[in-house]
């Protein structure tokens, strides 16, 4: 079952199944790649900001990254079966 990252419940380990790189600007895409986002990596939403749970604190691989919900929409994920 595929979800968008912003729909993924908190603290649910998942895997990135696809990223709509074209929906991001080239700068944003490069920055997210630099922060380790890629198809196939482990991902987990850990915390949300105080207002509207935005931005999200997301674990990508072993790194914690802050990302706004609007950008999280470009990331497709699938919850890892436990």
């Amino acid at each position: 079952m595929s979800l968008r990252l912003d729909q993924l419940p908190f603290r649910t380990p998942a895997t990135v199944t696809g990223v709509e790189w074209t929906s991001l600007t080239p700068i944003e895409a490069r920055r997210l790649r630099n922060l380790g986002l890629d198809e196939g990596v482990a991902i987990e939403a850990l915390h949300g900001g105080p207002v509207g749970r935005d931005p999200l604190a997301v674990r990508i691989g072993r790194m914690m990254v802050a990302i706004r919900r609007s950008h999280a929409q470009a990331v497709m994920v699938e919850a890892t079966a436990t």
């Binding site: 630099n34 990596v41 935005d54 931005p55 604190a57 790194m63 990254v65 802050a66 990302i67 706004r68």
Partner: protein
Amino acid sequence: MTSIPLVAVVGNPNAGKSALFNMLTGARQKVGNYPGVTVERKSGRLSLPDGRPLELVDLPGAYSLDPSSPDEEVTRDVVLGKQQGERLPDALLLVLDATNLDNHLRFALQIIALGLPTVIALNMVDLARRDGLEIDPQALERELGVPVVETVAVRRRGGDEIKEALSGAVGAARRVRAGDGAEERDIAALQRRARAIARAATVGETGARRWTHFIDHVALHPVAGPLIFAAIMFLMFQAVFAWSEAPIGWLEDLIASSQGLVVDAIPAGFLRSMLVDGVLGGVGAVIVFLPQILILFLFILLLEATGYMVRAAFLMDRLMARVGLSGHAFIPLLSSFACAVPGIMATRTIEDPKHRITTILIAPLMTCSARLPVYAVIIGAFIPATSVGWGVGLQGLVLFGLYALGIVGALLAALVLRRTVAKGSHQGFMMEMPKYQVPSIRDVAIGLWTRAMIFLKRAGTIILISTIILWALLSFPQPKPGETALDSSIAGKIASVLEVGLRPIGFNHEIALALVPAMAAREVAVSALATAYSIQTEDETKAEQSLTEQLRGRWSLPTALAFLAWFVFAPQCLSTVAVTRRETNGWKWPAFMLAYLFALAYLAAGATFWAATALGL
């Protein structure tokens, strides 16, 4: 002439490069600038085990050799030997965060492919173990083909081994790079290889509870998080005043006794007047604020070193988004509370140009430490030290109000700027959130020492020179009988012209006089007022009066309040203007900054003066 071998320290941001650099070089560091750019060049010396000296240069953190900021550009150019003012390094010291190998190895692969002799410091192995992560350095060595040394830079572990490895690397020949480098440019392919290597080198991984996540459950909690943040901010500003009281007293005594010594040693005349009124009186009035400035920097250094700073940015992101900025802008703005110059330099990490220019333009509105002398003197003189209840003092409340006015002014300015001159483009907020760490006392001490030196150098140069010039302009020509020194002097005449424009907002002759040299730096306003009143007072008994008493006798309350309001906005700092020019490559933005902030200062001071007068204060 053979030059000392040069080794450049490279690595991702948050890999612990600076801590490693501090461990290897100690306090013997030189901070300079690369020609043409504002990127700092931090270098230091160390001795190899065989006695050879080595120069180490700390390069800005980078995610890849495909630069996305001026900082990363310098890193790329240095390792390629293309940076002006820097020779090609003889070897590279590559710092990797052991807890974040998959990510840091990508940049490592790019660096190793350059073919320069390279040594890897596998840093933060203690944090990796804490997280239940066991990495085999030999396996990493095999995969990468360069020596790997385990280090814990903040705990000063692994230094000797690094020096050992460096002595082998320096003097080794460059290797021919394999392939055409195409793979190094394909970031996705590189990343996959990095992950594969990280997997191969990871020998054990238990699901140990990660401290960082544990702390973040509280620190980023939607309710507790903002409360903790507010408490930290409150503690910070409280400490700036509470902890500094005693050391300020010592400095004041020291200055007063030096003045006494000069008075005893030198006969009355120009030299004595220059030393006592100009140098000691003027510069001394600024030096006494060193404790407050250091406490403020201590907090900011601690917030950064512990990893909390990015959490604060995370909590503030929504609020910043309201005015068209992001949490990213919050970090330079918080630094600007200490000083706008490092704050403006810190905006370089903001990739979006419109975002960045807005942040630069509002950074001077954060109440920097140079304003403290001004605020403290005026508040001390005019606001009674009474309590308004619940243990809150009126003086503290007024000071808090001035900080708040600066913040509100900055947010409103951002809102307007993002809809007018810095319109468009929206980058959002994407940031690495580093692990929490217990900061190393040594690293914080080195940071504080550097800041103290910068401040004292400023006091010894800009402030000293402008105070002496002002003293001279105030002392010549000598007053004729029946004239006061202030009216007859050159400075007095200049001030009289300015006063015409400043009279409507309640400013008097001495304020007009102080504002001119205060263009160099805000705190000069205090030393200028001190010098002006000290020269003006012929009567020996009156000269003993402190600046506070002088002000009380000469200014009305509305004037004092207007003066405070002026300094909330007025961009009176040459260093800020200069750094803005360098960072924006031209005079357009610094000119705009000067114009809009002076306009705001004039309006704010005027409104305050008229309102206070109308209220009959």
